[in-house]
Amino acid sequence: MAQVEEPGPEATDRELTMSRAMVEAIATEMREDEEVFVMGEDVADYGGIFDSTEGLLEEFGYDRIMDVPISETSFIGAGVGAAMQGMRPIVELMFADFFGVAMDQIYNNMAKNAYMSGGSVSVPMVLMTAVGGTYNDAAQHSQTLYGTFAHLPGMKVVVPSTAYDAKGLMHAAIRDDDPVVYMFHKRLMGLAWMPAPEGPKTGVPEDDYEIPFGEADVKREGDDVTVVTLGLHVHRALEAAANLADDGIETEVIDLRTLVPLDTETVLESVRKTGNLVVVDEDYHSYGVSGELIARATEGALDDLEAVSRVTMPDTPIPYARPLENEVLPDADDIAAAIRSVGE
């Protein structure tokens, strides 16, 4: 389990939404280091479509909170170039779904320059982007794509599920000398127009602190079934676990928090204890996070494994109409069914 030395979310009465926590970390880093700046569409006056930069313009002005043309190839690539000069850009790709128009800058430059240079250059940049469905915005605006970014080597990938983690992971991301993709779920941000579930709004210390990458968080302990997940589905898994507890099924829920690096050890420890693994991922089913976790569990704890299951987005584009999106998007009932199926 993670050993966070900093005071945890319990240590303060001050509760923040996830977006406020992210913005607080960005502002603190910007105050401390002139080289940190933000670039993206609608990050200035609008404050980010999902409030990821809300309020920063007032303090830092247009030079450091830069609205840019709708030219993702150019501004994400420019982020790479500025980072190679030693600056610390935070670049927003409004929706992860839009990566396609700029993927070359992301996976061939941002992610590979350090390696291709034999380590002589680094790219200390944060690419932050919104992920996830649940609001019927259809196939081009609802994807999660954790697997795509984590699959391609050279970028660290972080996925907060609470305000406390969002702040600590953002501090760590900005200070990191490598490119970090920071994927936040819209439904967790605390937006007025997209109510969050219980859970992401947590205590957040005013002082800065880092959540180290590669340390999963055991959100709930249990002996029967291990559920490994991230982002929005941490909260859905906790809901399922709470419901099953009434029936005597004790579920352990692990929030991965970062996909690269991945805390395999925490997952293995849990699987050795429970023998049953359910992976829940809002990303597509095939060739992704769920397959990777099951592979790691198999490699590391084959003898202890009795059953595995995964609850994912099926391999279909995400449909628009509510009954269709509800069908494909994993919810707490789907997770509970999977837990029951392996726990029997």
Binding site: E41, D42, A44, D45, Y46, I49, Y62, D67, V68, P69, I70, S71, E72, T73, S74, D97, F98, G100, V101, T134, Y135, N136, D137, A138, A139, Q140, H141, A192, W193, M194, P195, H285, S286, A307, V308, S309, R310, V311, T312, P314, D315, T316, P317, P319, Y320, A321, R322, P323, L324, E325, N326, E327, V328, P330, D334, A337, A338, S341, V342
Partner: protein, 348 residues
């Protein structure tokens, strides 16, 4: 010169589009008030309305036939209406119903009507290359149909547009790029993201024809578009046609537009292209009654489409797994019941 019938048709399309969107707005806000929750109410997802853009679609599409291709961006309704997309099935799609154009899978940013060669994309400027592809097909097959790509002034900073201009230019393809300049890209005013006020100038770098219509006057747009479409149909290559339009609403429904100066909102409302069209109609001898009759007909058509759409059934959840491919692949996509069955030991 625009003839009476064309003028009347353009006006009818414009008032249809305006009223349609007023009605969509009402329906959209149902269940989302007093607190706006994007996932509540009868219309799912985001909704981008085109109020203030109608003159552009009416003026351009007046020159198009069903076999001409149009691609629209995330703000598509006015273009769809002028291109002749089935209004009832489009409405059913926007309400997410089974009989919608895409069986409820696409939604308002992703409308497809192959009967009139209409498609859209919600990713900025990404409908442009497919329009070039339609033009390429026309040229290769030696037909005289043309393609028109609609995009916003914010979208012309996107590589896909600039690359398309070059490809269309070098192959003299029959395509018209219609840039709808409403001065805003969500919260970003044009001058914050480009030094070029006349976006059609992008064409110069590719030696492609260009034209800008500075006022959202459907008749002026009709005339400029006539030349551009004619040039394409006659085999004389592409044109960039930029037209000044106005955004009368927030970027999407629920956008409070806190970033936008009040004067700008006022200006957009004052310059009403629909009133301007009424002036044209009067000059052509249409009476107030004629105009009222056209409006009424348009309103009725809209009401009927909305009533029909709201009566349509919701899609069957199982339908979510269909249409990924034209043929059904064995075990693809993964269905959740299969996943659970597999965990149970493989029985379905």
């Amino acid at each position: 010169m625009v003839g009476d019938n064309t003028l009347q048709r353009m006006y009818e399309e414009m008032v249809t589009a305006r009223h349609y969107e007023e009605r969509l707005q009402e329906e959209y806000l149902e269940g989302k008030q007093p607190a706006f929750d994007i996932s509540a109410g009868p219309i799912p997802g985001e909704l981008h309305l085109a109020a203030g853009h109608e003159a552009s679609a009416a003026g351009v599409c007046a020159h198009l036939r069903d076999d001409d291709t149009v691609t629209a961006p995330h703000r598509p309704h006015h273009v769809a209406i002028s291109k002749g997309v089935d209004l009832e099935r489009m409405t059913a799609e926007i309400f997410g119903r089974e009989t919608g154009l895409s069986k409820g899978k696409g939604g308002h940013m992703h409308l497809y009507d192959p009967d009139v060669n209409f498609a859209c994309s919600g990713i900025i400027a990404q409908g442009v290359p497919p329009a070039v592809g339609a033009a390429l097909a026309a040229k290769k097959r030696n037909t005289d149909d043309v393609a028109v790509a609609f995009l916003g002034e914010g979208a012309i900073d996107q590589g896909a547009f600039l690359e398309s201009l070059n490809l269309a230019g070098v192959h003299d393809l029959p395509v018209v790029f219609v840039v709808e300049d409403n001065d805003w890209a969500i919260s970003m005013p044009k001058e914050r993201v480009t030094d070029v006020a006349d976006g059609s100038q992008r064409a110069d770098g590719f030696d492609v024809h260009r034209e800008r219509v500075d006022v959202d006057d459907a008749v002026a747009i009709y005339e400029a578009a006539g030349e551009a479409v004619g040039r394409a149909r006659d085999g004389n290559g592409p044109t960039v046609l930029e037209v000044q339009v106005h955004r009368r609403m927030g970027h999407f429904m629920g956008d409070p537009e806190a970033y936008r100066p009040d004067e700008d909102v006022e200006l957009a409302r004052e310059r009403d292209s629909i009133e301007r069209m009424e002036g044209h109609l009067e000059e052509h001898g249409f009476t107030g009654d004629d105009i009222a009759e056209i409006r009424e007909r348009a309103h009725e058509r809209v009401e009927e489409a909305i009533e029909w759409a709201k009566d349509q059934p919701q899609p069957d959840p199982e339908e979510a797994y269909e249409d990924v491919f034209t043929d059904e692949l064995e075990n693809w996509p993964e269905r959740r019941d299969r996943e659970l069955a597999a965990a149970d030991g493989g029985e379905e």
